[in-house]
């Protein structure tokens, strides 16, 4: 499994542009504007975070072929609320995709307790995960997936020019009519997910996340 990573140079430029004035033609402007095709102007909440030099998460929508930078709006215990320039949101629970807002995918919330224990514990095993989606009629539908989690061994990855020693964990899930594979690169010492590719749902498909070191 390979990750379709965004162009590194662009990302580096994007990082350097962080905290500076926002211009549409800046690198960060371009990369975040690409996040959603019809991206309007930045929402004020995002601008506030940008000025406060909030932590950055690189996110790619694999099927849509777009990517960009999200900023941390709130860290609340295990939950991190990452805001996109046009007000979309991705919520990660200890690095695992928990829910989305405003991105055209109705992932309301998830129960990730079992896969989190295995992935962060660097253990193989079976687990259940629950996703609750909003359907087209705004009804919340909970789906259960049965997942096999496998320890794939240590991997040294390049995190924006910096080599990092990680362990690759693979999670293969299926329900009656859906199947997907998530992969996580976990730093063993801190038990944090620094790089991942995770399936959000049928509408937007897999999402890649990459922690940007401060």
């Amino acid at each position: 499994m390979t990750i379709r990573t965004p162009v590194i140079a662009l990302m580096l430029l994007a990082l350097m542009a962080c905290g500076t004035a926002i211009e549409d033609d800046s690198a960060i402007g371009q990369s975040v504007a690409a996040l959603r095709r019809d991206a309007p102007d930045f929402v004020p909440r995002f601008i506030t975070l940008l000025q406060a030099e909030a932590p950055v998460l690189q996110v790619g929508f694999v099927d849509l072929g777009t990517n960009g930078n999200l900023l941390l709006e709130r860290q609340d215990g295990d939950f991190a609320y990452w805001l996109s320039p046009d007000g979309g949101q991705i919520v990660l629970q200890s690095g695992m995709l928990h829910s989305t807002r405003g991105l055209g995918e109705g992932l309301l919330a998830s129960d990730l307790s079992e896969p989190l224990a295995l992935v962060l514990g660097l253990r193989s095993g079976w687990s259940d995960r629950l996703h609750t989606y909003l359907d087209g009629e705004d009804f919340a539908i909970t789906r259960t997936y049965r997942c096999r989690i496998d320890y794939e061994g240590p991997r040294r990855i390049d995190l924006l020019g910096r080599p990092v020693d990680t362990v690759l964990m693979r999670e293969s899930c299926r329900s009656l009519d859906q199947a997907f594979v998530n992969v996580y690169w976990v730093v063993p010492s801190s038990r944090t997910i620094v790089l991942s590719r995770q399936w959000a749902g049928p509408e937007i498909g897999p999402v890649s996340t990459r922690v940007v070191p401060r």
Partner: protein, 722 residues
């Protein structure tokens, strides 16, 4: 119906979602175009017959559409044009409305025919038995297409489906034999000549003819060559007797063939040959209102709910007046970002109460959730409970009580929405004064300039006529509940003006002079009213409206609605004095006046079905009742129909025999994925005449109050954490 059917008009499209009085956007044309475009991902291709229903070429199959799906079809062959709209009302029942034109049928004139079909699937297909269905075509119309069928369809292998059926009426014109039902009763032997009654009987249900007279067999199969391409071949029992006898079509063979290509968008193109010689073309589009463009929505993410110690004003003491004012200002500002107006704020110990007006979210539970998030992000740590009272036109509706700790704990729970609902309380809002009102809220003034469209359908000279122009809406509200409103229109394009057919009604011409209104008006005062809305007690709402109430009538209207907060049932009563307006649609009045009014019952059956019964006196002074049934999808898309029976005889009513119509509402959010309270509504009446006509008062209470009653709030509760 003879070809001389007269111009008929659609009621001026009153937007049903006119919660914001000044914001009467009518961009109907754009939306209708949008409907055709929207919605990728329609599932299996479904071949539609020339009748616009699941079928082969002319013959029906026992198939149905996906539950809730809508199919729009237009085709042309020989002298015939058929435009059909089919709605899968229930998983096993679909209904169709069709407008057909047969050139020179009543030579030298054309036949314009409106017809309704109903199809019941008795059994769906299983490995052991075929799908079985019973259908009525043109069951209430003029009888040109009138027929009934019993049909079975079965899949053979992966690509082939076979269909065999028994037809009556038009579907028994070839190879007819004695009606097998005659074994049951002799009355089935002969079919009354249903088409003979002409105008006087049109619109009546031809119960007497259903499944009567000779029967005939039809059969056919469909071969699915690829996912997109299919071929139909049928032996037809419809010989086009009426058309061939008039020399309008050549039928050389009982075999019809068709070739259908379906696009992934849900559109289909089809070519077909009827009777071996007549080549036809057909376009259809199938979509399902259940699917919106973007299921989760594209709205800006909500504020995360913080720990109460991390709230903006975590340490403030709201018993201090300055702190209270500061908290109110912060709430006001953050709510404004969410499209919500803070109208009142009050703190009683650990309980904070806000009264709000939601201007943005079409799903009302989302507005409640957003308000609670703002309160949780703002208010001091000692506040435990939030009471949120949504107001419409300044009138408090319901009171939703949420616990701060529940909001926070459940915001990331996978079943958070429903668990929160179980811990919340939705009650009726108390009757409240203006004590805690946000200063500077009144007077409110708003205005909006927008395009409008008004349609007239089914005039034989021009089946679709249109008025389009600019509309200025003005609203001035000096205090809660009271407002003065004006809707002014200036048509820029009008083809309704060009209509030449005059009313022949023997009743007071309360609606049938629509063309005169269009012709004699230019700048138009569509509405000019003073309106007062109030809550007069527990679960009881009231309204008084006076002035130029609608385009054809001025007067005074009073209404009371009893709507228990957690009830499926609401009961209302309305009484009006109405006087006809001058055709120039300015301030003048004509002599005709009437006392009209209705007692109404509204009931939510569940699964999105809403029924309405209005009994009383109509504009022409006739007494009777209107029965309405709508299927309302939880995303706000609505499709329904109604009919009205009054003491006006079918003869006096004229063409159509009684008033009936179909109606739909398309919410803007369904098309765009962004929250909005704007929607487009249209009523389509096959015939617009004077019997059973109801005064069109703006802001009837059921529509105004329903959104925030418990039933509707809990239906939308899935979005409370969006």
């Amino acid at each position: 119906m003879a070809a001389g059917c007269e111009a008929v008009h659609v009621r001026a499209p009153m937007p049903e979602i006119v919660r914001d009085r000044a914001k009467c956007l009518r961009i109907g044309v754009v939306w209708l175009a949008g409907m055709m475009w929207v919605l990728a991902g329609m599932a299996q291709p479904q071949t539609l017959s020339t009748y616009g229903t699941p079928g082969l070429v002319d013959m029906p199959t026992a198939r149905v559409l996906e539950d809730g799906a809508v199919a729009l079809t237009t085709n042309r062959y020989g002298n015939t044009v058929r435009n059909s709209a089919t709605f899968q009302v229930l998983p096993r029942v679909y209904g169709t409305f069709r407008y057909s034109i047969i050139r020179d049928f009543d030579a030298p004139r054309d036949r314009f025919d409106r017809s309704f079909d109903l199809h019941f699937q008795i059994a769906d297909e299983t490995p052991g038995r075929p799908a079985l269905a019973l259908g009525l075509r043109d069951f209430g119309g003029t009888g040109v297409l009138s027929s009934e069928y019993l049909v079975a369809t079965r899949t053979v292998g992966d690509r082939l489906t076979g269909t065999i059926g028994l037809g009556w009426g038009r579907l028994a014109q070839r190879g007819a034999f004695r009606n097998p039902l005659a074994v049951v009763a002799d009355g089935f032997e002969d079919r009354p000549n249903t088409g003979a009654g002409g105008i006087s009987t049109t619109g009546q249900l031809d119960f007497g003819a259903w499944f009567q007279g000779p029967a005939a067999l039809f059969a056919g199969f469909e071969f699915q060559a690829t996912d997109r391409l299919s071929l139909q071949l049928e032996y037809s029992s419809d010989a086009y007797d009426a058309e061939t006898s008039r020399g309008l079509i050549d039928i050389d063979s009982p075999i019809n063939v068709g070739l259908n290509f379906t696009y992934p968008s849900g559109s289909s193109l089809r070519a077909f040959v009827i009777g071996g010689t007549e080549v036809g073309l057909q376009y259809s589009h199938v979509f399902n209102p259940k699917r919106r463009r973007s299921p989760g929505g594209l709205d800006e993410a909500p504020l995360p709910i913080p720990d109460r110690r991390a709230a903006i004003q975590a340490d403030m003491d709201l018993s201090d007046r300055a702190a209270l004012m500061s908290a109110r200002e912060t709430l006001q500002r953050l709510l404004a970002d969410e499209g919500i107006t803070l109208e009142a704020f009050r703190v009683d110990g650990p309980r904070a109460t806000v009264r709000i007006q939601n201007d943005r979210y079409d799903v009302e539970a989302q507005a409640i959730g957003r308000t609670a998030r703002v309160m949780a992000s703002t208010l001091p740590g000692n506040i435990d409970a939030f009471v949120i009272i949504p107001q419409v036109f300044g009138v408090p509706n319901s009171a939703v009580t949420l616990q701060r700790d529940d909001m926070r704990a459940l915001q990331t729970d996978y079943d958070g929405a429903w668990r929160l609902l179980a811990r919340s309380r939705i009650g009726d809002a108390p009757v409240m004064g203006r004590a805690d009102e946000v200063p500077g809220l009144y007077p409110k003034f708003s205005y909006g300039l927008a395009p409008y469209t008004a349609f007239s359908f089914f005039d034989p000279d021009e089946p679709v006529r249109l008025d389009a122009g600019a509309e200025l809406a003005l609203s001035f509200a000096p205090m809660p509940g009271l407002s003065f409103d004006a809707v002014l229109r200036r048509p820029i394009i009008s083809t309704i003006d060009d209509a030449t057919r005059q009313s022949d009604s023997v009743l007071p011409r309360v609606r049938s002079n629509a063309v005169l209104y269009a012709q004699q008006s230019d700048f138009e005062i569509n509405r000019l009213t003073a309106e007062y809305m109030f809550k007069s007690g527990e679960n009881l709402f009231g309204r008084v409206t006076g002035g130029y109430l609608e385009n054809m009538f001025a007067g005074l209207s009073g209404e009371l609605l009893w709507y228990p907060i957690d009830s499926r049932l609401a009961l209302g009563a309305e009484i009006n004095y109405a006087r006809q307006r001058d055709f120039d649609m300015l301030l003048g009045l004509q002599d005709y006046d009437v006392i009209t009014g209705h007692a109404s019952a509204y009931y939510e059956f569940g699964n999105g079905f809403v029924g309405q019964l209005d009994a009383g006196r109509y504009l022409a002074g006739d007494w009777g009742a209107t029965f309405g049934l709508d299927r309302e999808f939880n995303n706000g898309f609505r499709i329904g129909g109604y009919f009205t029976l009054t003491d006006v005889s079918f003869d006096d009513f004229g063409e159509g025999s009684f008033d009936k119509g179909i109606r739909f509402t398309v919410p803007l959010s369904w098309l765009t994925g962004k929250p909005s309270r704007v929607g487009y509504s249209q009523v389509i009446q096959p015939v617009l005449r004077d019997g059973g006509a109801r005064l069109s008062v703006p802001n009837r209470l059921y529509g105004v109050t329903r959104d925030y009653r418990a039933q509707n709030l809990s239906n939308g509760w899935g979005r409370v954490f969006r």
